[in-house]
């Protein structure tokens, strides 16, 4: 899984941080998403999908196909 975030779209609702705190954080100065891990391990995938589903501004873009190791 490959994770990208579209920072200009982010509205800092905070769902990603509550869903997958190992993968997403928020910048202190404006609350915008801070991607901690763009290739999270498999046991995080479900939580990352949840984060992308809940994100109200579609700022989390997932590529599910596994890329080269």
């Amino acid at each position: 899984m490959k994770v990208e975030v579209d920072e200009p779209r982010c509205v800092a609702a905070g769902h990603c941080v509550t869903s997958a705190p190992e993968v997403f954080d928020q910048r202190d100065d404006d609350g915008v998403v801070d991607l901690l891990d763009d290739a999270p391990p498999e046991d995080e995938h479900e939580r990352v999908r949840e984060a992308a589903l809940l994100c109200p501004s579609a700022a989390i873009i997932l590529q599910e196909r596994d890329g080269p190791a």
Binding site: R9, V11, A12, A13, Q26, D29, D30, V32, P56
Partner: protein, 397 residues
Amino acid sequence: MPEPKALPFSARDAECPFNPADELYELQKQEELPRVPVPSPIMGEFEAVELTRFQDAKEAMSDPRLQMGFVFDPEQPRTMMNQPGNLLNYNGADHRRLRRMLTSAFTIKRIRSLTSKIEEIVESRLDALEAAGRGADIVHEFSTPIPTLVICELLGVPYEDREGFQRRAKIGLDVNTTREEQIANLGEMDEYMGRLVASHRRSPGDNLLGTVVRDFGDQLSEDELIGIGNMLLVAGHETTASMLSSSVALLLQNPDQLAVVRDDPDAVDDAVEELLRYCSPAIALPREAGEDMVVGGQEINKGERVVTSLLVANREIPGAEGDLDVLDVRRTPVPHVTFGYGSHQCLGQQLARAELRVALPALFNRFPALALGVPEEEIDYRTTSLVFAVNKLPVTW
């Protein structure tokens, strides 16, 4: 084309006000997007496309072509719907710029850092409830003061000003008021908030409004800062108060579910999410199509107004298991639209969650034998306001 029906888009069932009115379920089943007349004290009656289906609501609210229906117009009198600084009066880049100035105050980290303050406020209100004795009103002693006191902390409102503050907030949300009353009330709110902003200009407080004044005061006019303060008050006060009262009323009528909230700390977060989904107390403010657009495969023309029934949308969420018309605090949380969706999704939602997660279990643990002080059918609900609420909720223990 069917005749549009005169009904408020947040209409609730007369027998059980936690349920949407039958008409809303009917509209949900109807394929064509209906146009309905919407009464408004500020704009007079207007016609709007009504969205009742979950997917339509999400699709529309995340489409940038759908804009807020009340964009700030300096030529018009000030109302809550026409005010600089209020995020709900902005679109696109202007909205993003303003929202980014406030989001640092609502990050998960910042909200978690407020937990002990919220706990302190809740404890003080539980003491007050106990002191008021059996028969005391939950709305008066508990659900209303808690969010007000939290907002007062965020804005830096001194204790002696808090009563007037609460009164003005209540008028600001009452749809059974005239346009003149709204304009007069907002004048008072502006005057008070102006004094508060001026004091932060002199010496920025260690709170949300003080931080905004300190960090962005050079980019924001007095008017905008006043509007920001008013918005935080109105958006954060009545909605959270309503969720607290509604949750207590509901749980007292469902003792097995109350026991979950009281006895299982690990279940509280999910329970709060279910209560939010089920109560859905606030409306989504009317929007307007800025361009021709398509929702659920159907055309909405540029200039048409659009209203969304969040309450009924939360009852047919695709992929959710079980009967969504039933409250089930053990339900795996479903992604509801109680806080709206898209770029305007509620800025304060994590604060609201934090307040509910602290206050509800604390109440039921302090008073394990809490019970309704009136028969169920005598609970006084308010269904005519922009925010659904309980007027009075006497309890005993």
